[in-house]
Amino acid sequence: MQTDRLVDHLVADLVPVKPRRTSDDLVLLATIGIVELALFFLWGRMRADTMIALSLPSFWWKLGSLTVLTIAGAATATRSFDPLVSPRKGLRLLALLAAGAFLAGWAIEPDHVATAALRAISLWRRGLDCVCSMVVLSLPAVVALIVLMARGAPTDRNGSSLAIGATSAAWGAFVFAFDCPHDDPCYIAIWYLVGCSIVTLIGSQVSRRMMR
């Protein structure tokens, strides 16, 4: 009897709805990303030596890797908001892309990795600044993805929340890459990994709790 009343209630509550499209989500995310990047530049946070950095392969490696990771992550996350789509394959691809990015960074500067790692760790104050900036810059992506998740119907709680965390982390690091004065692959590998791991952890935990 209770279910009969529920059916009556649901029918009475029926209003026309616009079917969800993954492409709409991606357009919305891209718009938010462009606005954030524009505000970031208007705020004057672009590095002063950008013209010099543009000639460095490590700068392009940093920017290119993060762009690819952000796009792949956004596609994985938004697709997973469809109840029939699993994010697992996309997450595996993301992991492979991240590993490929590390290998490419090592290929750019293969010598003296241990020395470079020690130097990067010794710059821990700057490293922590970078980590904090990445966390703050990833917040718009975390919020946007959680809103999109709530509008969608993800059915893989762990996978979708991990995709949200990873995408937000890649996005925060991507925006920060325009401000970061460091182009040493070892420094980037260490401190960007720390920043991305923190954002992934926070983003996935928050989104997981908010998923219904």
Binding site: L6, V7, L84, T155
Partner: protein, 167 residues
């Protein structure tokens, strides 16, 4: 569902009626009877709230089954979290504190005897072997077993006496 997305109430009522039967069968095979009706209602509400995520270009059943399965897993998790086990009334038993303490004290006292004396006392006085059985078990003569027990007990008595004086 396509018609329901456009706001057709009649089609939606028919769909919900059919869904209810399908969901009842689905959850009846997977949940305890007491949880089935709740699970059906929960799934119906979710399907209603998430109806915009259905793509009319694709089959309906897999979409609905994915949501039903998700809600089923959710319910299993909730059942796991809320699981309550009644304790049997006879679970309260006397504590073993005095027995444990006695065993520990005896072990400490026996450790102060010679190994042969301690073993003879353990076998005959604690474990209930006869002097002959203890003799066969250890390979010592019956008289040696008796002597070890006698001297061991005498030493234990003196140790206890000394400790009592010290306390």
């Amino acid at each position: 569902m396509g018609a329901a997305q456009a706001g057709n109430g009649m089609a939606y009522r028919r769909l919900l009626g059919e869904l209810r039967v399908w969901l009842l069968n689905f959850y009846a095979r997977r949940l305890p009877p007491a949880y089935v009706e709740d699970a059906v209602q929960d799934a119906l509400i979710t399907i209603h709230e998430k109806r915009h995520t259905y793509d009319t270009a694709r089959p309906f059943i897999p979409w609905m089954a994915a949501i039903a399965r998700f809600k089923w897993i959710d319910r299993l998790r909730a059942m796991e979290r809320d699981r309550k086990e009644e304790l049997p009334e006879g679970i309260a038993i006397a504590d073993h504190e005095s027995a444990v303490t006695s065993a520990a004290v005896l072990d400490k006292l026996l450790s102060q005897l010679k190994p042969a004396q301690a073993q003879a006392i353990r076998l005959v006085k604690f474990q209930g072997y006869t002097v002959e059985e203890a003799s066969a078990r250890t390979g010592w003569s019956v008289s040696l077993i008796k002597v070890n027990i006698h001297r061991g007990l005498a030493k234990l008595a003196s140790i206890i006496q000394v400790q009592a004086h010290a306390d």
